[in-house]
Amino acid sequence: MVKNVSTTRKVRTPASELFWRWCFIALLLCTCVIVLVPLLNLLALSLSDPSRVSEVRGLTVFPKGFSLINYKVLLANPLFMRSILNSVYITVVGTSLNLLVTSMAAFALTRPKLPFKRFFMVLIIVVMILEPALVTEYLVVKKIGLMNSLWAVILYKAVNVYYLIILMRYFEEIPPSLVEAAQVDGASNMTVLRSIVLPLSKPALATLGLFYGVFHWNEYFRASIYLTDPMKYPLQLILRQFVVLDDTASLIGSGALFSYDEAARLSYSALQASTIVVAILPVLIVYPLILKYYARGVMEGGVKE
């Protein structure tokens, strides 16, 4: 009986609706192709055999031949390797600091006992809606002696106000009785935060950590204005000079990289493609986690509402 109903339904709906559904799928898959082809094309270019690079056209998605020479050359470049280390350092230290400072502030701001609470809440809104001038921020950073220091880059956006508010909303959901019970036992604020609030907020912290992490990995502009020594540059800045500004000398010309015959054998565009691939790789590695924590969280949140 039940089966009958469902089959009659299935028979009733199709025709035009099914046709449209397939049209939609086709269009959506076209979007996917448009997203993927430029990425796969660069991957193909970077992996192709140097002698066959000229065969790689704009829509080619599979490498012609196979060679890792581009990556070998990049990894042998001290400036490039150094920039990867700098980026990893900025990302790891920056994200840890972000999470520490943001969660401490979110905890304090969600306690009813915080003195001047209203004042601090207004302060947060002020920070959110008033954007300082680039020049004045630059002059302050210069004045406090952070020029040419990775700390100038790490500390910029030490607290993202939007993320702070998200975390505050999350902390507010934690039952106050849990916190109070610990405080009656004489636990300090830091202990309560560390042993009760943070363990209960792991999904939120993971999401924010991933977003902060991607932000740091992708940051290039503050690095470009605050860092003067190329050996301190993060990968994105090297990438900008080498690929976006097409300043091939920035990477190739710096120091003893590889012999001239090797350089002559390689194509710049393949080297540039390899640089882009290296810059994307860490994002790709954490991307499944991002999908798991964020996208799903949003979807489920939407369903629940």
């Binding site: 006992k113 915080l114 008033l130 680039l134 020049v135 630059y138 500390l155 607290v159």
Partner: protein, 296 residues
């Protein structure tokens, strides 16, 4: 006990201190420093007040007016023209019932959102290259001559629009997809019983249910109208097209940090900040009035 719990806990301020120091150094002091828009900045000694001198220079400068026009045009394209696209995308995706396909489409189209504009600019420069790019290979197939979009003044704003769409179409559709999945299926079932067609269901159920989300997104975006996307423009512009893509933020950077006209650049920032503040407050009020939810 009740009295004890009401007492302020001053040790909480210790937890707040690192964030406060950050706000002070990277936000509050620089904001206070914007007073130099009314001064002639001196590296040593006191900077004399000059009133509105820099603002008068700003509005008398044809370059600045062009920058303002560029900002408005580019923002219009990226906020108003782009606006329906993620909605259409979400509506189509919502019809995909095969879980594998749906996941594949989602994970593919969300990805570009996490790439930096440096990377995206690199990808697009390669993809649009007149000699080796995919787009021009496609043009070749149709017998069209190659075109260098990146240095073409009539094309570059559309390159900005297209690359913004490439990056944000999937990601920006999430919020609509979430709203769509939260529509009660019983609404559609009863419409089915009434014999409603797909178009009628779209018009009388889906769109009205999506409206609050659309209004919120649109209004909140309007609050950031003067931004127009610094990182994108900064990485995609070049000398051939600078006159049509130079926006407020790239202008502020160039005259401030490259030409070192500190006070003049700060005046431009202050102008942008003041208008931006009005827009954000209006967006906040508008959103609160219409949907009950503001920016904060």
């Amino acid at each position: 006990m009740a009295e004890l719990s009401k007492r302020k806990d001053w040790t909480l301020l210790i937890l707040l201190t690192p964030a406060l120091i950050y706000f002070l150094v990277y936000h509050l002091i620089p904001i206070a420093g914007m007073v130099m828009a009314f001064q002639d900045y001196r590296f040593v000694g006191k900077s004399p007040f000059v009133g509105l001198k820099h603002f008068k220079m700003l509005f008398a400068s044809p370059a600045f007016l062009q920058v303002l026009v560029n900002t408005l045009i580019i923002s219009f394209m990226k906020i108003v023209l782009f606006f329906p696209l993620p909605i259409i995308f979400a509506l189509m995706l919502n019809e995909v019932r095969t879980s594998f396909l749906r996941k594949f489409i989602q994970s593919t189209t969300y990805l570009p959102h996490f790439l930096s504009w440096v990377v995206i600019a690199g990808i697009w420069i390669a993809f649009l290259s007149p000699s080796s790019g995919g787009v021009n290979q496609l043009r070749g197939i149709f017998g069209l001559p190659p075109r260098d979009y990146m240095t073409d003044k009539s094309a570059i704003r559309w390159v900005l629009f297209a690359s913004e769409t490439w990056r944000s179409l999937g990601w920006d559709s999430i919020i609509y997809l979430a709203a769509l999945t939260s529509i009660s299926p019983s609404l559609y079932e009863s419409a089915d019983l009434d014999g409603a067609g797909a178009l009628q269901k779209m018009r009388f159920i889906t769109l009205p249910e999506l409206l609050p989300t659309m209004v919120t997104v649109f209004i909140l975006n309007m609050g950031f109208f003067l931004n127009a996307g610094f990182d994108q423009v900064f990485n995609m512009m070049n000398d051939s097209v600078i006159s049509v893509v130079d926006i407020l933020d790239t202008y502020v950077y160039r005259i401030g940090l490259l030409n070192m006209q500190y006070s003049f650049s700060t005046a431009a920032s202050l102008f942008k900040g003041a208008i931006g503040l009005v827009l954000i407050l209006a967006a906040h009020q508008g959103s609160r009035k219409i949907t009950g939810k503001g920016l904060w």
